[in-house]
Amino acid sequence: MKLELGYIFIKDIQFAEQSKVENGTLYVNKEDVKALILEDQNFKSADVELARPGESIRIIPVKDVIEPRVKVEGPGGIFPGMISKVETVGSGKTNVLKGAAVVTTGKIVGFQEGIIDMKGPGAEYTPFSKLNNLVLKCEPIDGLKQHEHEKALRFAGYKVAEYLGNLAKSLTPDEVHTFETPSLTEGLKLYPDLPRVAYVLMLQSQGLMHDTYVYGVDAKKSLTTMIYPTEIMDGAIVSGNCVSACDKNTTYHHLNNPVIQDLFEQHGKTLNFVCVIISNENVYLADKERSSNWSAKLAELLGVDGVIVSEEGFGNPDTDLIMNCKKIESKGIKTVLITDEYAGRDGTSQSLADADAKANAVVSGGNANEVIELPPMDKVIGHPEVVDTIAGGFDGSLHDDGSITAELQVITGATNEMGFNRLSAR
């Protein structure tokens, strides 16, 4: 399966009479976007704001971040099973508004969304401060249940991202990147001497709005399965997650999964990137056993030499991570795990809830308990009062001048377990 991603670089975003992309600027008709959101009768009002890199803006609470993309050639549409038909995507050509994003906000659960600062120390912790963001502020009708609000906001994000993506359909990309996955037998013939590597992508699926969708299927209802990496680039996997902000995978993360990017980069040079195995993180022990058994079984069946495993979230998913590790290692296949840490504010506590001696190659996205200080911003988009109650915040986190003292956990994408972040250690 072969996909060409055409990047159209976006350096600025502005409101205008007509939505279009011209000379690296994304122009957006605000009323069109509002009308699109308000098609859903679950919203009583909608507002749209801009947040550009370097502006003194805080967005809170952030639910999802979505990159606008559009299919130019090949079957299907972006976000299959959600807003496009269930067609197999991942081949042909897709255009990307690189440097732009749709950010959805709203008080859904309150404590399980995050913060994006566009300027200052907070901006250094989140990759989304580098993007030209269209921020959707959607207020639900009275009495709307939380899970209905989550779904409505999730779809508002996809619809607006699709609307913006469509502006790029007939544009000539600034850069084209080609990604190709051969069949198993072709791959063996092409690279007989290279180590074969698969990627186990763990998807948050604990329920109660900790959910991920694959072609529209709720991941908690699926057994571990395989997927072409390019399908993910076309939005086959999307986030429906209201969970700790620092290490949840937003839809943007799935579209731009850096593990997949790096494996493709090394494909045919130092390794043979076989495919992606997607496995869930459910709340029953039997499900955890079954899903990790299946990851190991598929890795064995594929005959791979090594597997990279990335976790999503923390706490009980640490057990899914360790089960995947132990069971895959027991098949004689090497594993490298990507996770993050909850090692206490001083960093001396046990980092993960579970552990095993076989987990001897681990990459950390950082310590989510680290306490940080965020200065006030000139403008806040959203509901700043939730700072005291979001995961990583505490009573007194929000100070009178608008500054914040909280754990790193509050920042969207800060300790991402795909490695889509900037933290490092010496």
């Binding site: 604990q206 709340v283 029953y284 022990l285 640490d318 057990t319 809830a353 579970d354 552990a355």
Partner: protein, 65 residues
């Protein structure tokens, strides 16, 4: 003693007696069942826990029944 759903975590952190429970969001019940059935589950798990507390152990022990 731990009553918990994710037994491997209890084993990792060194609990002596472990009674496995239903699921992380509802360890002692199951919202898909009726109240009577839920109470039955709860009573059984609690009885098992009380039995576990009265049982001498020499190593980490999971009380499956």
């Amino acid at each position: 003693m731990h009553m918990c759903t994710i037994v491997p975590i209890s084993l990792t952190v060194g609990a002596n007696r472990i009674v496995p429970t239903i699921a992380i969001p509802h360890p002692l019940g199951d919202p898909s069942l009726s109240m009577e059935e839920e109470k039955d589950i709860r009573r059984k798990l609690l009885s098992r826990a009380l039995k576990a507390l009265q049982t001498e152990v020499s190593e980490q022990t999971v009380f499956e029944d």
